[in-house]
């Protein structure tokens, strides 16, 4: 039985978009030196939202120089003063959170339910958290008076545009660095709105600079000789390229990259809770999450029962207008990403895995992919090895805890993992043997500014969040 819901769209009137945007450099929006204008579209409708600027190498240099000039004063400011700027930013984010949630949903395609209840509260919380560190760095365990690095060049992805901005900018400013940030080419808008928040907060000019553009702009920023710190969140292949770029320099590097997280369900797990955790693990944000639980490892004895429950639950997910408050599954962020997900899913079928999706009508315009699961997946299958970054779950089985651990660790990635069991000692035993930076036991995809996040192996290095997150921005 399907419940019918009346449409409950969030109003987009709260967002006031300009027809085009320049670059936010040295405290004001400026024209590019020769960079072209690029359109950004709403992934759920393909409607053009506005135009933004692709920054050239010259623009990037201008932004880095502005940040470098601002560094002298900003780093010399008493920590308590830096803290107050960050507290202001946190408060303004809260005040404007409805506007930013709608904006993010428009530009990214994710459901308003998520931007409103996850992204925005976490953004504000992250600024609050690091604001409090700014005048307490002497006590953070990095020795007396730890020094900032200088200009941080930060490149962020499109899956959580404003949240990734917060993860990058908040600790950088708290520790006394200045920032040049490049948002993703398909989701530049919330970063440009954040520039306005910096203005409202009275942040000194040049402390935060936003340069929009594509991979070329990011490469220019990372390679700039006056950048002292590079922070990147994105794909593992680009992360490796950046690691090669900074080799032989003094630039400090942190990378938060891809994943192929294992979500392990033991036979004594509470099935209903596990099903909710599996759904959260792979369908949150359309599965476009680096720490997604994209490999489900089910103990063989409960495979059929669990899959039946899971399929029943997936049939109740509502896919459609991301601005509708009842929507569970929004749009895929871009045509390119949709093509990649589609190609990998087809590969899964071609290699012999069994594909299933709930009956699900896809909107006629925009980029959409139905929630999908694959059974009869083996470790050799492409869909069990490669990050799909979409709403696609690969189901594998195991018999013993040893086998579960071996399969979970059988990946070059090491970002996240999940464990579902009622047995406490088994949770601790398995958690300690999983080579992953974040282990969620009897829960999944939980985030908090106080909780360090980051990967093992090819999922990158360094941690964001918590006391640990300070280290990336200090000369220690």
């Amino acid at each position: 039985m399907a419940f019918e819901y009346a449409p409950a769209p969030e109003s987009r009137a709260i967002v006031d978009l300009a027809p085009s945007y320049g670059l936010f450099i040295d405290g004001e929006f400026t024209e590019s030196a020769g960079g072209d204008l690029v359109k950004t579209v709403s992934p759920s409708t393909e409607e053009v939202l506005c135009e933004y600027t692709r920054a050239t190498a010259e623009d990037v240099d201008r932004a880095v120089q502005a940040a470098r000039r601002a560094f002298e004063k900003w780093s010399a400011l008493p920590g308590a003063e830096r803290a107050k700027y960050l507290f202001r930013i946190a408060r303004i984010v809260q005040e404007r959170s409805r506007e930013l949630a709608v904006l993010e949903t428009l530009d990214n395609g994710k459901p308003i339910k998520e931007t409103r209840d996850a992204d925005l509260p976490l953004v504000a919380a992250h600024f609050f958290y690091y604001a409090g560190w700014a005048d307490k760095l002497d006590h953070a365990g990095f020795g007396p008076s730890p020094k900032p690095l200088g200009v941080a060049g930060q490149v962020i992805p499109w899956n959580f545009p404003l949240l990734m901005l917060a993860w990058k900018i908040a600790p950088a400013l708290a520790t006394g660095n200045t920032v040049v940030l490049k948002p993703a080419e398909t989701t530049p808008l919330s970063a440009l709105f954040f520039a306005d928040i910096c203005r409202q907060a009275g942040l000194p000019q040049g402390v935060v600079n936003i340069v929009t553009g594509d991979g070329r702009t990011g490469a220019d920023l990372v390679a700039h000789p006056d950048v002292a710190k590079v922070a990147f969140t994105g794909s593992t292949s680009v992360g490796k390229e950046i690691a090669r770029t900074v080799a032989g320099t003094r630039k400090k590097l942190t990378l938060e990259l891809g994943g192929k997280g294992a979500n392990i369900v033991f036979d004594d797990a509470p099935i209903d809770q596990a099903v909710e955790g599996i759904v959260t693990g792979i369908f949150f944000n359309q599965g476009q999450v680096c720490c997604a639980g994209s490999r489900l490892l089910v103990q063989e004895s409960i495979h059929d029962e669990l899959l039946e429950s899971l399929k029943r639950r997936l049939s109740t997910l509502r896919l459609g207008d991301p601005l509708d408050k009842n929507t569970d599954i929004g749009a895929i962020n871009s045509a390119e990403q949709l093509a990649r997900i589609s190609a990998l899913a087809e590969r899964g079928e071609a290699e012999g895995a069994e594909r299933w999706s709930p009956a699900c009508e896809l909107p006629s315009s925009g980029y959409w992919f139905a929630p999908t699961l694959f059974t009869n997946v083996t470790q050799a299958h492409t869909i069990a090895r490669e990050e799909i970054f979409g709403p696609v779950l690969s189901v594998l089985t195991f018999r013993t805890p040893e086998e579960a651990v071996a399969k979970a660790n059988n990946t070059p990635y090491g970002l996240s993992a999940g464990i579902w069991t009622e047995k406490g000692s088994r949770i601790l035993a398995v958690a300690s043997r999983l080579r992953a930076g974040v282990v969620w036991s009897n829960t999944f995809n939980k985030f908090d500014p106080a909780s360090p996040f980051g990967g093992y192996k090819e999922s990158g290095f360094g941690r964001e969040g918590g006391r640990h997150g300070l280290e990336a921005y200090l000369d220690v």
Partner: protein, 295 residues
């Protein structure tokens, strides 16, 4: 005719997987003291030796990282005890290797022994210093703990052939990593003799593997190896360090770049934390009873 007894010379060998093999290449190179006097023929390790050492280090990782921190501390302290007993030998080797007067060599060896004691005491404390509970805004238990990275390649300092070596090696294994060491190219003998101490100090075979030879020849395959998790470039010059860091990016090894270090100073915790991952584990906290209180 001299009454002086002809001494028995030692054949210096590699240390891999708890055994003392020669280089599989059959090659050796001449090691001299600072005046050019012949000291020994040391094994000239090949790429194959490096790969064998990685296999041995990986094999040893599970047991060593799974040992209790207390146990690792006991083992590291045992290394100090064994070194103390062979203090004279190392004074002689360090004096020869680094061209130091005896008094200075004594100071270096004493500092080196003390360094093992320093790190022996760290094994069961570092987790409390760098890990801990995180006060998340929700009903969750949330704990961050440091964990060893795995196999760490150590390019040992070129000049400080013994104190420098131990200063970079001990922090790597104190936290549960296993190590493949490229010894000082010019002065490999103290490192090769240290292996004999490790072998008799309850350090499980494979936890430390020592290779002598051309630094660039040994380090290149280690930096490129897909089963090495991290690399300490302490003993690499600028050009080599850059080359190795580029190779290391292939599987995103953690890289500790070369830096100016005074090995005679008290170490901080940086060389330990450089080779630790942070794992954060979440679990919901339930409520007890209808009143909703857990207390």
């Amino acid at each position: 005719m001299s009454d002086e007894r002809l001494s028995v010379l030692k054949t210096y060998k590699l240390y891999v997987g708890g055994k003392f093999p020669r280089s599989e290449s059959g090659r050796v190179y001449e090691v001299t003291d600072s005046t050019g006097k012949w000291l020994a023929n040391a094994p000239l390790s090949s790429r194959k030796d490096a790969r064998d050492a990685v296999v041995a280090a990986r094999k040893a990782f599970g047991g060593w990282s799974g040992a209790t921190a207390y146990n690792r501390g006991q083992v590291l302290y045992r290394v100090a005890e064994m070194l103390e007993g062979r203090r004279e030998q190392f004074v002689r080797e360090v004096a020869d290797a680094e061209g130091l007067p005896r008094a200075e060599a004594v100071a270096v060896v004493d500092a080196t022994i003390d360094r093992w004691v320093w790190y022996a005491g760290w094994t069961d404390k570092i987790a409390q210093v760098v890990g801990g509970g995180n006060p998340v805004a929700g009903p969750f238990f949330n704990l961050s703990s440091p964990e060893p990275m795995g196999v760490v390649a150590v390019v040992a300092p070129q000049e400080s052939s013994f104190l420098g070596l131990v200063s970079v090696l001990a922090p790597v294994i104190a936290t549960g990593n296993t190590a493949v060491v490229a010894a000082s190219e010019k002065s490999p003998l103290p490192a090769l003799s240290l292996a004999e101490v490790l072998a008799t100090s309850d350090v499980p075979g494979g936890v430390v593997n020592v290779l002598s030879g051309r630094t660039a020849e040994i380090a290149a395959p280690l930096a490129a190896h897909q089963d090495v998790n991290a690399i300490d470039l302490a003993g690499a010059d600028e050009a080599l360090a850059k080359e190795l860091e580029i190779a290391a990016a292939d599987n995103l090894k953690r890289v500790l770049r070369p830096q100016a270090v005074d090995y005679s100073g008290t170490p901080g915790t940086e060389r330990m934390t450089a080779f630790l991952e942070t794992k954060t584990v979440w679990h919901p906290t339930g409520a007890l009873g209808a009143a909703g209180s857990s207390y």
